[in-house]
């Protein structure tokens, strides 16, 4: 992709446009704001190096989602970080880092949901985040994560079942 005008200014515009998506993906997945920011910066540095390979704005979006997802999963695998994310329900410290701008109908439920999502196995977690943060359908998620559509569907169902189960246990017989 060719940057119009000053390359530095144009690239900063690209960063500004997509930073929310990249950072939120990493944040929802890693559940660590500082770490997510570091990873998001790495993703943009990688984009700067590979800008020549980007063909269109749609490709840029796809590339960012794909690289962020893979980097998050790789990071967890390398650091064996997954164990740290199996949090206890009372762990409120991390939740404070998660401030969503819009007013939510049930903040308590949203907080719990984010924590339960962060405790899912890595692939299920990334699929759930891509499905509900980015509003991608299973076919699009399969393309981003380079896995079969049926696998994505099955991971998504399993993840949702786990979340439903945990919420029912937490809130009693809540219709979720």
């Amino acid at each position: 992709m060719k940057l119009a005008g000053n390359p530095q200014t144009s690239f900063s515009e690209i960063v500004r446009e997509h930073q929310s998506m990249v950072l939120s993906l990493a944040d929802h997945f890693l559940h660590d704001h500082a770490l997510a920011e570091e990873l998001a910066q790495e993703v943009f540095l990688s984009l700067y190096r590979n800008l020549g390979a980007i063909k269109s704005p749609e490709h840029l979006k796809f590339w960012l989602r794909k690289v962020t997802s893979h980097r998050c999963i790789d990071y967890l695998r390398r650091q064996k970080f997954g164990l740290h994310l199996q949090m206890s329900i009372d762990d409120a410290e991390v939740i404070d880092a998660f401030r969503v701008p819009d007013a939510m109908p049930d903040p308590m439920l949203s907080q719990k949901l984010r924590r339960y999502v962060a405790a899912l196995p890595e692939k299920q977690r990334m699929i759930v985040v891509l499905r509900y943060q980015e509003d991608l359908d299973p076919a699009e998620i399969a393309e981003v994560l380079e896995m079969p559509v049926n696998t994505v569907k099955s991971y998504l169902q399993r993840g949702l079942a786990t979340l439903r189960d945990k919420l029912s246990r937490c809130f009693g017989e809540v219709n979720v």
Partner: protein
């Protein structure tokens, strides 16, 4: 869509980013060491100059035109060659036919000539015999006397 879907959409909304995030990224980019340029990349960079782009485009256009005409000329040449081969084959066939006809005619002429020769010989022989058997006019005249 179930309530869980709705709640997940709300819970996993995109977050707001700190205002200095872009500045941080740009600062890290500024710190990046310059990427070593290979000779191949330098050569490629030459072709990014407007004059070189024009020259490349002109060369490509010339090549395309040349190739088009070349291909057409080659096709015409091939076609002409094929036609000449066919004409040559036809001429050869005509020569063969004419040759066989001439041979036949020659044979017939020879046969006719031979026949005439033998007829002449026979005629000569017959006339020779007649001359021998016929009395000479002198003796006849003497007898009459």
């Amino acid at each position: 869509m179930s309530r869980l879907d709705d709640e997940l959409k709300i819970a996993l909304q995109r977050r707001e980013v700190s205002p200095d995030f872009t500045a941080k990224v740009m600062a890290r980019i500024a710190e990046l060491p310059p990427v070593p340029v290979s000779p191949w990349q330098k050569l490629l960079a030459l072709f990014r100059l407007p004059a070189m782009q024009f020259a490349t485009a002109a060369t490509v256009v010339c090549l395309v035109i040349g190739l088009t005409f070349g291909v057409r000329y080659y096709r015409d040449y091939q076609e002409m060659r094929k036609e000449s081969e066919i004409a040559k084959a036809q001429v050869m066939l005509a020569f063969q036919i004419a040759s066989s006809k001439l041979n036949k005619a020659k044979k017939k002429i020879n046969q006719a000539a031979e026949r005439i020769a033998t007829d002449d010989e026979q005629a000569d022989q017959q006339s020779g015999l007649q001359r021998e058997t016929r009395p000479t006019p002198k003796t006849k005249q003497n007898g009459e006397k």
